[in-house]
């Protein structure tokens, strides 16, 4: 059995189940080390990596020269000058190409690290039950190391849901042991495996975007208006122009001067039919945007969506309509549903940030 299959999950879970684990092993992981690891990453990524201290994690995006997003991901500052970059898409080609002129070593170690997401309100309690004493002290985006089965378990307070949650990183040889420990000791805390649909609901509730869904990676786009800039994905906070150079900086400065073409918004849609791939219209029935992700949110009890809007639409208070097609007993129907632009995440419980993390 290959280690990447260690955490294979087949069980479909209702998305509002509070205590869940999800296999992250297939997520692409790169180890970036060497004298120039920091300047390399700072040139690659739009935000200031120097602010991510050892033992901390940062969410980031990286762009091509045109300021269009290639992918988003997380940078783990494992130890001084030693970084892990996680992303959905394979990035080795772009990273290697970007390394010219830097003293840096880049290794894709996707299959050398087993990773598991442990998300939900009891996730901290489960961690403590398997022996991670003091796990509750981790602040969001902290990294800590705990002894586990003669080895080391790395725990980061990160995740792709909008809830309290952790990601666990371990040598693949100990992966099964970790899984067994979690399910042995976590039973009383209601641990269940989580499927991709549950994760999809959770990440949309949190307002997290996904490559290939909410944006097309710039290196895969053929038509010039298909890719998006960080500003167009509502990630302008991740762009730090005080850095003198990073990929896309000149184009993004120009975009800031001229204005963006699109914006990404969160929509609360009337009714309960998910508005997947729906066109968004203004009051005069002009198409002004497209839904990129949509689900019924069991946590927010709302019909939610992420949508890419043509500028200037998508302002709070704009009158917008979603054209939703849905099937009932093999018959397709269509409904026009009123949309409201929502600011902030759909589901954002205080426990997500509370430190020390509560047991439940």
């Amino acid at each position: 059995m290959r280690h990447k299959d260690h955490f294979k999950t087949a069980v479909y879970q209702t998305p509002f189940h509070p205590r869940t684990s999800f296999d992250l092993t297939p997520m692409t992981k790169h180890r970036i080390t060497g004298k120039d690891a920091l300047p390399f990453l700072n040139r690659l990524i739009t935000r200031d990596i120097a602010k991510i201290k050892p033992g901390r994690v940062g969410y980031c995006v990286w762009c091509d020269d045109n300021g269009q997003v290639i992918d988003d991901g997380t940078v783990f500052h494992l130890r001084e000058g030693d970084y892990r970059l996680c992303s959905q898409e394979r990035q080795l080609d772009w990273l290697t190409r970007s390394a010219h002129g830097f003293d840096v070593k880049i290794v894709e170690d996707t299959h050398e690290v087993a990773a598991l997401a442990l998300q939900g309100p009891t996730s901290c309690a489960v961690l403590k039950a398997i022996g991670c004493t003091g796990a509750e002290k981790l602040k969001p985006f902290d990294i800590a190391y705990f002894p586990f089965a003669d080895g080391e378990l790395m725990v980061s307070r990160t995740g792709f849901t909008g809830d309290l949650g952790y990601e666990l990183w371990i040598d693949p040889a100990r992966a099964l042991e970790l899984w067994d420990a979690l399910f042995d000791k976590g039973g009383n805390h209601g641990i269940r495996p989580m499927g991709t649909h549950a994760l999809e609901v959770a990440r949309i509730e949190a307002g997290f975007i996904q490559a290939q869904v909410d944006f097309l990676p710039a290196d895969q786009a053929i038509r010039i208006d298909r890719s998006r800039s960080p500003f167009e994905l509502d990630l302008g906070r991740l762009v730090d122009f005080s850095k003198p150079n990073f990929n896309g900086r000149r184009a993004l400065l120009e975009e800031r001067r001229r204005g963006s073409r699109y914006r990404l918004v969160r929509l609360d849609i009337e009714g309960n039919k998910p508005a997947r791939s729906a066109y968004i219209y203004d009051s005069k029935r002009n198409v002004v945007g497209t839904v990129t992700s949509a689900e019924w949110s069991p946590s927010a009890k709302s019909n939610i969506a992420l949508a890419s809007m043509h500028m200037p639409w998508g302002r709070p208070g704009d009158e917008l309509w979603a054209e939703i097609y849905y099937q009932r007993e093999l018959k397709w129907s269509r409904v026009m549903a009123r949309c409201r632009v929502v600011e902030g995440a759909f589901f954002d419980p205080p426990r997500r940030r509370a430190t020390p993390a509560a047991d439940f």
Binding site: R43, N66, H100, G101, N245, R249
Partner: protein, 522 residues
Amino acid sequence: MTDRNRIIIVGAGHNGLVCAAYLARARREVLVLEASDRVGGAAITREFAPGFRVSACAHICYQLDAGISRELKLGAHGLKTAHANLRTVALATEGDHLVLHGGRLEAGLLPDKDRAALADYHDRMLRFARVLGKQHNRRPPRIGGGGRSELIAAAMLGLDIRRLGRDPMREFMRIAGINIFDVLEETFETPLLKGALALDAVLGTNLGPRSNNSVLTMLHRLSGQATGVTGGLSLPAGGMGAVSEALAAAARAGGATVRTGSPVASITLEGDRVSGVELESGEKLAAGTVISNADPARTLLQLVGARHLETGFVHRIRNFRSKGMAAKLHLALDGLPGFARLAAQRAGDRLVIAPDPVYIDRAFDHAKYGQCSPDPALEITIPSIHDRTLAPAGRHVLSAIVQYAPFDPRASTDAARAEFLERTLGLLERYAPGLRRQVVASELLLPADIEREFRITGGHWHHGELALDQILMLRPVPGAAQYAMPVDGLYLCGAGCHPGGGVMGAAGRNAAHAVLGGERAA
């Protein structure tokens, strides 16, 4: 404040000097920094053996822009011609040589068909070359720029092609991207004629006659107007260095300062714009604008540094094709060489050894795979016939472009150089019996030597191949073809920019206009 107004030009090649002269005329404070101890870059005259001087890289002036000569008053600054328009002699091992002048056959035997075709071919190619020539003084359009001036610039190029007339336009479009071999095959019969014309197309390139783009390189070569004749070949009095000396004099007369012996170690930045340069001596010089006459790779990857540029741009610069294939031979001779069956008064013309296009292609094949050509093709001049200052009385210098020599030979450069020199002398001996005994001293520069001496990455005398994907708005790379580089205040002005190399000066002048235009826009 004065520092911010200062313009530093890195490199006193002919383009750097032209750029300096135009900026000085516009009353800018200009400082030119040259690494070597003389101005000129690859357009210099230097001594290679006691008493023998030669144009050390470029040796025939065929492209110097007439407008630049006039506007900078190069004549008043000392530029004279030793010979205004050389003939071309296609040397034959047996039988008659062909003496060509423009589209005319002046001596030698050609079938009537070839003789007629030659005049027609020459006219046709000159018309096409003029289309290219018209672009030399224009800033190429920016792709996707969308602005009005960009559209006009693109339209002008289209219009120039359209104005050729329907049939010539079709012919231009047909041949612009293909190879010279096919064009010559369908036009002429005589191998010697085809060989001489094929050599025109591949001189200084990394192409063989059968390589695509070799029509384009031929048109580029014809597109200049040395001494008022399109496609004319001239020899400056005092060698190519005299052109550079006149340009430097023009720049100085305008108020520019030219410092030699001042190699630049890096172009310094402050935030996202240039702040000046640091010399190898450690001296720091501040400037608001830095214009580099160095090649694109040296300028951007070494002097600026990849980390200050974006990934995609660095990738494109790294893939700018810039490996030279031409070697340069200098011979000090104790008398005039005697080329078999060549009238003495013809020895001062441009002599070519390229018996037929297949010969050249075979020479290219070896170089493609890392070996110097066993039987190279040559372009030879004996400039001392027209210019007695180059050699002691009664003695002569021979200057030849020898093709092909790879940039990175499979053997060591030293071994390859020794073998290639031997091969070339052996070949010359076949055409000019007794020449070997006349050789007092010799020097052969392989592309790697040219890289070292002239600081041209890859040793390509155009700083980079002239090809459809590396000309006009694509030169050196898309997104940086308008002289301004993606670092505020940094410009390129050398042969790596539109319209490329050859001692022309247009890139330098266009860059100066881009700098002045950029000031107005800011």
